[in-house]
Structures are given as structure tokens and as C-alpha cells.
Symmetry: C2
Subunit: 639 residues, 2 copies
Amino acid sequence: MAGYTVSFLPNEIEINCDSGTNLLELAADAGVEIKAVCGGAGSCGKCQVIVKEGKVNKLDQGILSPDKLEQGYVLACKAEVISDVVIEVPPESRLSKHQILLDDDMGDGEYLTEEDLNIDDRVELSPLYQRLELELNEPSLVDNASDLERLYTEINRDRNLPDLKTPLPVLKELASHLREYDWETGVSLAAVNGNYEVAELSAPDDENSDYGIAVDIGTTTLALNLVDLSTGKTVAMEGAYNKQANYGDDVIGRINFVKENDGGLERLHQSIIKSINELIENAATKQGIEHSDIKTAVFAGNTTMAHLFLGIDPNNIRLDPYIPTLNFIPPVRANELGINIKEESWVYCLPGVASFVGGDITSGVLATELSKQDKITLFIDIGTNGELVLGNQDWLMTCSCSAGPAFEGGGIEYGMRAMTGAIELFDIDEETYEMKYSTIDDAPPIGVCGSGLINLIAILNEVGIINRSGKFDSELEHERLRDRDYEKEFVLVPKEEAGIDKDIVITENDIKNLLRSKGAIYAGIRMMLRNMSLTEDFIEQVLVAGGFGNYINLDDAKKIGLLPDLPADKFKFVGNTSLKGAKISLLSKDAFDRVEEIAKKMTYLELSAEDQSQDFMDEFVSAQFIPHTDLSLFPSVTE
Amino acid sequence: MAGYTVSFLPNEIEINCDSGTNLLELAADAGVEIKAVCGGAGSCGKCQVIVKEGKVNKLDQGILSPDKLEQGYVLACKAEVISDVVIEVPPESRLSKHQILLDDDMGDGEYLTEEDLNIDDRVELSPLYQRLELELNEPSLVDNASDLERLYTEINRDRNLPDLKTPLPVLKELASHLREYDWETGVSLAAVNGNYEVAELSAPDDENSDYGIAVDIGTTTLALNLVDLSTGKTVAMEGAYNKQANYGDDVIGRINFVKENDGGLERLHQSIIKSINELIENAATKQGIEHSDIKTAVFAGNTTMAHLFLGIDPNNIRLDPYIPTLNFIPPVRANELGINIKEESWVYCLPGVASFVGGDITSGVLATELSKQDKITLFIDIGTNGELVLGNQDWLMTCSCSAGPAFEGGGIEYGMRAMTGAIELFDIDEETYEMKYSTIDDAPPIGVCGSGLINLIAILNEVGIINRSGKFDSELEHERLRDRDYEKEFVLVPKEEAGIDKDIVITENDIKNLLRSKGAIYAGIRMMLRNMSLTEDFIEQVLVAGGFGNYINLDDAKKIGLLPDLPADKFKFVGNTSLKGAKISLLSKDAFDRVEEIAKKMTYLELSAEDQSQDFMDEFVSAQFIPHTDLSLFPSVTE
Ligand code: FES
Ligand SMILES: [Mg+2]
Ligand SMILES: [Mg+2]
């Protein structure tokens, strides 16, 4: 098989490959990060690149216009290398340099705030991995229990830990260790499968701390806390984008990638493991500890992320009737996954409820103590997907509303994540429609992030540029409103002001996608209420989780009908509860056990099931209006 | 470091080594089997070899006479190679060719009789590894449990197996397996740590059997049953000598070897694993199956064997207060030990009670159902050690009586194991003291095995050649009775009749060793009775276990005072109960759990403890007479 050289512009990154190699995968291998929202299915069109020299074999390029094809554009996901080639990656197809630089910042507060990271005092420190100091009775001819029985007896003197187990490597050193330290010893226990394992022996009064990590595996971002298990304090925080985004923006894109590509599962699995190991590396370096000082890890992520993390094919998650391989995940050894902490350490994943309600949500319920609340509480996690929980101490209902990644910029032409250059707030002159805006880091605007998009819909509707169904006012004539292919677009920032060489616009189609997203979420809320024979008034508390939640304007969200029209004092923005719950579980065996109970207690409402789907479609259609077809649901907004 | 060549005569086996290499270890590496009763401590004198050419560095050769040293003899265990050498291994130092050939025969009945291998009908077939056939409900939008929950639900439809667990490799194939076979599946469960593990998925109606092995790890011999787990039938039996015998005849010898030699533990560990793998290989070949068809294994052995099997240092077993690392042994993965059955299979060891009462004995109690007997029962296992159990369904007491290996030929000048050429029965003319004898396989005599030695003591005493304290009649003058260094010896077989080039004799010292052994066992029985305030009359049943037990003459054993003087119908020879119990445990999870209860229930009597040792010494001294100082204990013998 012939070997070819592929050079990626503008950074002139060269890589060799065999004939027939997929261009998108090759780019990922070369470290050239190309957008691929649909996961390489050829349907999103985000992975366009330009062939400057040489030839590629073009597979289905159906969504590219003949114009573009003429100009040398190809979908990287549907192109195979068949000669030496030079490929230009245009700016709009790149995951920008900004984003990559930002990774380092995230850990220092942008995504994780101090408040998010404080564990409630309610949690008694009793980590999944804990060290005890013991003084054993010396054996004699009349007290001749074995070393192991003697150890177990002492461990249980003030505790009740039946079914202690000890793995072979520890058994091998037990006799000499106990005698070397004259029957005093440190012993570390790891909780596993309802039992405890004697994971490690140490010198008595050993001064070294044991560490654990709590990790939120988001579809878009990863967040890690390095925690000192003896104090419960977080000593380092790290965050990064999930590098799997190279293979698809949302979980469906990732699953498609696995389905469409040989070795795709292993690739996504390794990608997430590698990303996590980088965070571990950074955190360990900051704290000045060894990887082997990290003795355990708790992960929380949605069901697809959990499958990919474990290397389990997520394909059936995407297929009716949406069945995951598992929701309750047994502990796995770190080395079995390649997680770079102490070898043979146990790695725990928080349990999920269904294909689209995962461990990140049960973790959130734990972190917010929703399952202990008197008040009927609505929990909303708007991430790449939208998941909802409704309930209190007596009952818990949950559903997922396939909101899609619109609020993270997915499917929106100039949508983007909340990062440097993203517009987060607009101001419009009611008369002239002249627009002002503010961007993150005050950088020249390059797109609009989720909070900016919500704000934008609200004000466009308010001033009458779009009507309640999200269409541009057909009467309106304004230089900013102009026709394009089969729709209209409204110029937000003319190219001269923008940080990119184009006008930043919003299209009718963008607006449709945003209304779809918000409509899905609101319809989900309505469906849960319906199934419990409740109305909005019964909701006593709304908890908005997720990085995104921290930045949206509550009034805007109510105005467009994303959040229910309830008094402001009923809302709480609770941050990254997935991470918080993982950390609580790490530090408290009781809490860890409680998440399992929570997952079992949660009733999953499948909105596409026969008895729900018609109602859901009705609710969904009504909720795609601004704020809703039924204005009585939004009295304060419409008054 | 210079490399030397060592050549072993008579077989001219050559091997290269570094300067300073220990000669005994080198011989073992070369496959030249040299006796080493004391495990290389330099105290047994069995490893004598002759340096024919070249020089060795002689370490402590204290027990060799100046004569022998002059003739070129050295103790192999205390000699280091410092030049090219030619070493002759004299016949008396060899583990003879006969013994090695015999290995193959053992499995076919010499050690294991058909009767030993039948599992009682009482045991319900429910193996530690078992396959179920399941038909799962197909999932739907309203029945959307995960694949794993669905599987667990079906497993538990007619069962109660809480805490099912599934390892990652099985999880990875679960989704596609269930769909490939349209929700019908075979599933194999392995019992582990009180839970069950989903060990394997298979096609529905898979015709292939799963196999398991039960293994008795004796100090001297290994015995293995290959069992079809679906029928409970043994399909192949294998036996072999424990190759560790190269490093010491009894457990103390082996422990010494570990203590005295760098890497000694690993060496003994690997030796036993290798021996077991050879048996597995043979059994699998006979049955025409793959190693990977063997899905689980149960091992029973004494506490030292269990430690060495696991690779755990047994040193403290030998040191006052005789503390093993562990008695209750957690299951271990086959590949962690290097046992060549299906990878990741669980390997179980039956639990022991103390340093000198191990899993072979608890296994025996299980196999004989001693713990369910109404009758007060005495269980005696005379192997390389002597272990005793006394009790019934209400109580169980056990002790070990360091009988030593005399009945297996250890410490007896012409003692040997029960194999070709061993004298097993004598006949003596009361007048002339002319002797007849019968040997195993009617071969020319080369030594005396255990049953022969017991018979010999009985008849020598009967005709008055030795008195009740084991001394030769000081008045007796006979050509067969002659002086040697500091003692007397009696010629059993003149060299002309023998299969070796020497007279076969028994010495006063040999007799002393034999009386010591039988005295230790009998004193142990007495001590247990004393501690329960019982006398011999209360013993309603005596179960004699061990290969050796099958061949001794009951009358002889009573005559010399080895076994209590009870009516013959109270005695039962029960064979290899260690193997039998291992097999029962393999085939019945209940039985396996019961052994643990048995081990917990057994009260260990430490004969060297302060409150026992004086009584034991008294009993021991009295029991070294023939049959005993207190003749009233042996009424039928002395009447
Ligand atoms: S079209 Fe190529 S990744 Fe979406
Ligand atoms: Mg999230
Ligand atoms: Mg035995």
C-alpha cells in the first residue's frame, strides 16, 4: 500500500498515511482539530476543507453546493487520501486556537466557581478510599489467629465492615509488614461491590496524604477536582474540552462516528481516557504529587459518555427503544481502563437511569439533595442535551428532551461556546434596529454563545423583528434584514466590526433551531407535570444546573419560554452539580450508596412511548412559539 | 562472572552456570532429582554427591564423616560450583527412575480409587461455575430496562442471587450478543466473595460442556480430577509427585528452603504451579478439550502448601507462635497465579484452621460429613504430617502432631514411599529369625514403605527382637543383628537378594523415629480426648484418610500403638478426602460455603501452648512405647 504525505494549512502540519485513509480521522491524528458536528455522517457540513494540491477520493458530498465543489471544497469526513495532498482548513471549520488556550483557564474559575466546589457540611467524611491507623494484638500460642484475621478483627473493633477482602499482592506483604512495624500499621480500605477491600498497607503514622479525583465527563467539557481524602479539600481543579468533539458535537454524533468507523469505539474511548489523563497529569503536577498517590476516582457523565468511557458500544442508545448496555456500573480497575492513577485502584461511575438520563443527573440530584427536599423541585440541566428531574423526598420523575446543542452553538450558523469573542448580550435600538453587544473578554465578536442567543431571541421578538413563531416580520424592510437561499437572515455584526472576515448573522433557520431547543425543554417540563397531574404553580423551586445555567438571564429565559414563568426567588443556579455530586460520592461512602438508591427511585418518562408521544408532540409544537401558544402560562411575560 | 559446565553422572546431563551457583539448585534446574529431606539446611545428609572431576567450594559439611569427605562426597546443598565439574549422583541420593515412571500410573488407581471419586448423592449439583439458559423479554419503549438489568432480572426469575456483578469484558459484548441471539442466551455464573459474577455469555443451546478441576495439593503428591460441571462426573484423573520435594521432604524443609535461598519462595511457588499445569495439560489432552474449557478450580492443601501455591511467604508458620498469613483464602484469578485454565477464571482454596491444620483437613471433614455425624468420630489424616479431628455435629476439635514423614520413608535409612520394590509385608520365623517379605510389583526389594515399617515394628516386637521401648534385645546374638557406629542394626534383606548393592537394614535409630511418629499421633488423640474429658471408649467411629491409610494393616497399627485399640468395625478407610472435599466444593456452592463454616467451627488445640505442653510431653513419652506404657489402653493387643 502506497504511503502519502498530507500537509494541513495554515499550520503546515504534515503527516503520512496509507492510501484510502479518511481525511477527517487523519486530521485528528495529526492534532489538526476540525469541527465535525454530525460525527462524520456527512450531514452537518461543518468539516469543509479545501484541497489545494493533489487529489482526494470524494465519497458522498451531497450537501456541498456545486459552487463549493468547484472551489475545491470537500467534506473531510467523506474524503479519502489517494495522493500526496495539501489541505487548507478554513477558519470556520477550525476549533479555534482560542478554544485550546482557554482550556487552561477553565479550571481556574470560568466553569467551576469556588462555590460549586464546597462540599456541604452535611456530608460526613468517609471516603470510598480511607486510611485507618491500627494497633494489633501480638499473637501468641493461645491467641493464634492468622495475620489476616487479626487485621480484620482490629479493623472491625469500632466498625462493622463484614466481608472484608484482601487481594493477593497485599496478602503477600502482610506478614512481613506487620512484623516490621511491630503490629502497628496503617491500612487503607477501598469500598467495592458492597464489601471493603484492604487496598494497601502503610507504615503507622505515615504523613503522606491519599488523593482521589472527582470528574464530570460532559459531552463538551471535562472538569476534574483533585481531592485530599484525609481533609476532603479540593487541592487542584482542572477543566478541558472533551476532545471527542472532534468526532461529533453531541452524543448522537459520537454514536454515529462509532457506528460508521472501524475502530471508532476504541478511538472515542481512547480520546476520553487521554483527555482525563491529561487533566490528572496537570492536577498532580500542580499539587506536586505522583500519579500513584491518587488512590481512587469517581466519574459522572451521561449514559453515552459512560459507555464510551468504559469502551462499551453505545449504538443501541440511539436506536428505538433506546436501550443502554447498563445503567448501574460496577467498579472497574483503573488500569483496566488506562486511567493513570495508582495501579489496581478502583474507579467508580455514578449510575444512570436510562439512555438519556445518566450519572451526571443522578449526581446532580445527590448534590442538590433534591431527593431530601420537602418542596416540589424542578431540576434542569441544560448542557449539550437537556435533562429534567421533577420531584421531592417522596417521588422523582425524570426525562430527557433532546434539546440538541443549540444553546452551545450547535446547529446555529454563528453559534459558539461561551469563550473569548462570543457575544453574550445584545442591546437594540427599538427605532433604528442598530445593535450594540458585549463579548466575552471584550474581544472582537466572532459568534454568539448560548446566553447571547437567548437574549437575542427575546429582544428580536420584543422589538417586533421576529414574530411569536420566530419568523421575520414579513412587512419589515431594513438593510440588516436580507434574503439568502430559501430564507432570510438578519445582520448582527457587519464584517467591518467582526473578528472574522464575514458578517455575523442570525438566520430564520437558526431561530427555528433555538425555538426547537427551548420548546423541547419546556414541553418536557409540561409532560412531567401532566403525568403527575400537576401544573406549573406546584413547582416550589427550580434548580438550574450546568455551566450554561450560570450565565443566562432569567428574564430572557422566561420571555422566550425556556423556563417556566415563576417568581425569581424560586430559581437557583446550582453550577456543575455533576462534578459536585461526584466529589460528594468520593468523600462519602453513604452518599455513594445513596446515588444508587436515587437512580433506582427515579421514574423515567419516555416521551416517545406510545402513551406519551402524541401529548408530547402537542406540547412541543405549542412550546415552539414565543413564549408559547398558551399565553396564560406566561402571565408576567405577557402582561 | 565466569561460566562453568557441570556434568551430572550417571546420566551425563550437562548444564552451564555462573561461578558460585549452589549445586543442589543447579541439579534441580537440570532436572536431576536429588533427595533433600531438610530442604537444603545441611542437616539431613540425603543430598550426598561425589565430585569426580573439578572442584567445588565446600560450605558447612559438618554431618559428613571425614571418611566420606576423603572419598569425594559433598552435601550438594552446601557446595558451590567454582570450576567445571563432573558430579556423580549415587543411587541412594537419587529420586529413582521408578518413581518418575510411576507418576503416570498414580492417576489410574494406585492413589485414587474409584470409590474415592464418587460424590455422594446428597450433594445437589450447583457448581461454583454454572451455566443457565435464559430467554429474555425483548425491550420496548415502555419496558426500557438496560440490557444488564434485563439479564439480571431473568437470572433471578427462579433464583435469589443478589449483588450480581459483571466484569468489563463481558459488558462490552453484552449488547451485541443479546441481539445476535434474539434475546435468548446462555450465561455462566461464577460464585465469588458471596456474590455471583456473570463470567461468560454463550449461544443458547450451546452443546459444549464447562469443566472444572479439583486438586489435592499434598506435600508429597498431587492429585487432580477433571470434572464435567454439567454432569458432576469426573472425566479424567491425574496424579504426580509434588516436584517441590526437590527442595525438602516435609513442610518444614520447604519453609527452610524459602528462608535460606534468595528467590526460594518464587521457586517453590513456580514449582507447584508448573506441576499443576502439567496435570491440567494431561487431563485436558485425555479428554480432548482446551485449557480454556476449564472454567474454575478448587484446591485443597495444608497451610504451607496453600501459602506456597499463592506465592505467600510461609516463614511464620514454622516460628513460634506459628502464625500463618491467612486461613480463609479469597478467590484469586487463574492468570494471577499462572494456572493454565481459562483466563480470568476464579480459583478457590479451601480454608484452613491454623498453621498445621489446613484446607486438606477441612476438606476431609466436609467429604466425610464429620460435622453432621451423631457419633463421636475421630478423623486421622496421616500424610507427610499427621492431623487429627475429633468431634461430631455439635463440636469439632483438631490438632496437628508433627508426626514427621517417617511413614513415608523420611528419616528411615531404607524407608521409601509405596512404590515398585518397596517391601510392604514381612514374615519372620520365630525360631530362626529368617525373614520373608513381599514387595510392590514383586520387584527385588530396595527399601520398606510405611505399611511395611508398621508391620516390621509389630513383628520384631512380637518375636522379641525389640523390646517395648524399641531397643534390640541386649541378650540376643544373631548374625542378622550387628553393631554399627553408635547403635545396632538388623538385616532385613541381605545384599544378594536386594535390588540394590547393599544390605537392607533397620537401625535402632530408625525404630526410634518410627515410634516417635506413632507416639506423636497417639499422644495427639489422647490430648484431644483429655481436653474434652473423654476416653477412648467414647470414640464411636475412626476415619483414616490419606493414601497411606489405604494400605496399613489395622491389627499391626493397633499392635504398635499407632491407632487406638477399638473394634475393627469402628474403623473406616476413607481415602483421599482432601481431593474428595475439593470436588464436592467444586460441584456445590452450598458445600463450598459449608467448608468455611466448618473451618470456623473447628477448635484448634495448640499442643505446644503453656496449658497443654506438659501434658502432651507426658503423653508423648508414654506413647513411644510399644504399644504404650499404659497397657490397659490396649487390652486386645496385650491379652
Ligand atoms: S459533514 Fe463532515 S463531519 Fe459533519
Ligand atoms: Mg453536564
Ligand atoms: Mg494429604
